[in-house]
Amino acid sequence: MTTEKTAEKKPEYIKVDIARPRAYRWSSGRHLGKLYREALDNKRLVTNRCPKCKELLWPPAGACGRCNVEAGEDWVAMSDKGTVIQYTYLVFPLWDPHYGDRLANPYPTATIKLDEGVFLVHFLEEKDPEKLKKVKRVQAIWKEEGRGRGLADILYFRTIDE
């Protein structure tokens, strides 16, 4: 609880700071569950394909929103190599509600198109802004321990020469 007292005759306004993490228990469901299972056990990204439009859904889902049909179980393992479509990096720290930390500079993230796969947003290993401009081909680097969190099982994408 904080109060603000300002000099003479200025009104005092009371405010209450609330800093309480809220717990949740989130069920992945079957489709994301399969993604997490494959990431955990086999260090690979899988997703399903819409039977009608043949596009890969991302994330894997029960229905294709564009076709309004059930997505089915046509599962595909995707390459862990891709091309950077666009990137950005933090200069001013942001607050991350998931870990209660300040996300520090530079924290580079990018939209990456996986080879014959989908677009996903993830970190880049490269932190130098000048070098970031030239990053084109990247490959996923998986965590060796502590997997089971789906996309977060990939540590970041490393620049590769190709």
């Binding site: 609880m1 005092e12 405010k15 800093a19 809220r22 717990a23 992945s28 870990y99 209660g100 089971g148």
Partner: protein
């Protein structure tokens, strides 16, 4: 912070479904506003319980409010109400929920203070739950250390 935010993954037996136990932490602030602040400051500095009066509807809101919900008038008339009132109803909370001001069991009551039209929700103490009766007269007990919070009133106790 890391321990506070620690997450864990639970794999459901025989099903390819994971349950993710995590936490979201978005700090925020609540501003009491001018009217709310004045109410709390009176508790803190003067051990006085104040309400705002709507003269057109002849009623007194405690805690103080800025507008009358019936006639939409903006309220700027402050009146002091008594620290003694009548118990309108009560209950006891036995379960812990992480946001309680004191440890359970907690007796909550709605008290209509003399001079107020509304009831005030607060805690009751120095009384056995079995001895509570609707219509009982109760009196506010103020905290020694007051900070500008509804808990500057520690609880209400039966008038001897």
């Amino acid at each position: 912070m890391a321990e506070l935010m620690a997450d864990r993954v639970e794999k459901l037996k025989d099903l390819d479904v994971f349950v993710y136990h995590g936490k979201i932490y978005i700090p925020n602030t609540y501003t009491a506003g001018a009217v709310g602040s004045q109410f709390l400051i009176e508790l803190r500095d003067n051990k006085r319980i104040m309400g705002t009066k709507c003269p057109a509807c002849d009623l007194v809101y405690v805690p103080a409010r800025s507008v009358c919900k019936y006639c939409f008038a903006q309220l700027d008339q402050w009146v002091e109400v008594s620290d003694i009132g009548t118990l309108q109803t009560y209950t006891v909370a036995g379960q812990r929920n992480g946001v309680q001001p004191v440890d359970p069991p907690i007796i909550y009551g709605i008290i209509q203070l003399d001079g107020a039209t509304t009831g005030l929700v607060h805690m009751l103490s120095e009384v056995d739950f079995e001895k509570l009766v609707i219509g009982m007269r109760v009196k506010a007990v103020f905290s020694e250390k007051r900070v500008g919070s509804i808990l500057d009133i520690k609880y209400f106790k039966p008038l001897a």
